[in-house]
């Protein structure tokens, strides 16, 4: 029960999903649709696990008075508050103008957008520190990035030369590399899926 059943399930549903790809019949299609929905439902229940983990971790920090426990209190308050105003009013909480959505708009969105915009600084810093022509590979990466970036800089008569070069990079070597990359990923993913279905790769699922 503990050991065998999970792998029987993996192999069973795995092969069913493989077979249904080739069978257009209605019965297969319906089971396929159900399984996808079941997985979504399982994910919904699993949300509770996440919530539990987050809450318990914060409570532990507060109880043990670990350094910075006050911030855990803030996280907890934010969480509980959002749950109350998000769940208690029913689906009305998702309507624009509700307290829930106001919090989303004026707290979540601005922080989210600002975190995202930090990338503007980080990309500059990464360019400064990491783009050094240490090896041939690093040099190629750097030169290709420079050519693309120069597209945004008016270079006068050189502009059209650079445009041509950038266009060549994007349509020829870029395409070849991406194709090779994607084909490799495709085969690797297929192999991983096969390993799971055959039960060769089972590290992800406990052993006791």
């Amino acid at each position: 029960m503990r050991k065998t059943l999970p792998f029987a399930i993996v192999t069973g549903v795995g092969f069913f999903m493989l077979v249904q790809y080739f069978v257009p019949r209605e019965e297969f299609e319906i089971i396929y649709e159900w399984s996808l929905d079941w997985i979504i439902v399982i994910g919904c229940f699993a949300m509770l696990l996440g919530l539990w983990s987050l809450t318990m971790a914060s409570i532990h920090k507060v109880q043990r008075k670990t350094p910075g426990w006050g911030y855990s209190v803030i996280a907890l308050i934010g969480l509980i508050f959002m749950l109350i105003v998000g769940l208690y009013p029913g689906q009305a909480s998702l309507v624009k103008g509700s307290i829930f959505m106001l919090f989303f708009e004026y707290i979540y969105i601005p922080i989210q957008a600002t975190m995202f915009s930090l990338l503007a600084f980080y990309i500059a810093s990464a360019a400064y520190r990491a783009f050094r022509a240490r090896t041939i590979l690093a040099t190629i990466l750097l030169v290709s990035a420079l050519i693309i970036m120069l597209r945004l800089v008016p270079l006068g008569p050189l502009s059209s030369v650079n445009q041509w070069l950038a266009n060549f990079i994007l349509t020829v070597p870029n395409m070849a590399a991406k194709r090779a990359f994607w084909i490799g990923v495709g085969l690797g993913a297929t192999a991983t899926a096969l390993k799971i279905m055959l039960g060769i790769e089972r590290t992800y699922m406990g052993r006791d």
């Binding site: 999903m17 696990l49 969480l79 509980i80 503007a120 693309i148 990079i169 070849a176 090779a180 406990g206």
Partner: protein, 206 residues
């Protein structure tokens, strides 16, 4: 009124996050904790209403009892919270992993393997069009070398190693191009934030 207060709060939180660029500080820590808490609450409530309700509750209410299976496996998942019977939750994990492994087997083989191969098959010789001929030739050679780079069971030595080397060069060119283009997107994001601070909040620019 609500809007004005909202904009002020948003602007202050924006500054709090930016302060992280200087160094980790209590202001940032406050914003971070608030952000984590609020986002988790938002995520839970919206998923509950937008996914859980239509996928499980509405289906059951409409008499589609088969959905109870999803519910049962979902509840089994929660047994993880009880160490003694936590192992039962593996059945649910098995269902999730098994289903998608079966799906991905063909999905990746088709969309990444076969479709990409099909797209790469192109005539090398295009009569009367030298640039295109050269371009196509380089693409085929580049894809070939790129694939050689990803060979794991053969040592990259000799001619084979040479191909692999050219392959990783091609890949690096492509990564450089990605990087170069992304700079633009990231700067746009920063502009958006500054627009908010100086325009929406302070009203300095229009």
């Amino acid at each position: 009124m609500v809007e004005t207060i909202g904009i002020w709060i948003a602007a202050i939180l924006t500054l709090g996050i930016f302060s992280f660029l200087y160094k980790d500080n209590p202001f940032y820590k406050f914003c971070e904790s608030l952000f984590v808490g609020v986002s988790a609450g938002y995520w839970f409530a919206t998923t509950f209403w937008q996914v859980m309700m239509p996928k499980l509750v509405d289906n059951l209410a409409a008499g589609r009892w088969i959905y109870i299976i999803g519910g049962i496996f979902g509840i089994l998942m929660l047994l993880r919270l009880f160490p003694k019977i936590g192992w039962i939750s593996r059945w649910s994990l098995a269902l999730v992993v098994g289903t998608t492994a079966g799906l991905y087997f063909t999905r990746y083989l088709v969309s990444n393997g076969m479709v990409q191969t099909e797209n790469t098959i192109m005539p090398i010789f295009v009569t009367g069009n030298l640039p295109q001929t050269i371009g196509n030739l380089v693409i085929v050679v580049g894809t070939f070398c790129g694939l050689v780079y990803f060979f794991f069971s053969k040592e990259h030595k000799g001619t084979f190693g040479g191909f692999a080397k050219v392959g990783i060069w091609f890949i690096m060119v492509s990564f450089g191009a990605s990087f170069g283009y992304t700079v633009m997107s990231r700067m746009s994001l920063l502009l958006g934030r500054l627009d908010y601070l100086f325009g929406t909040w302070l009203g300095l620019i229009k």
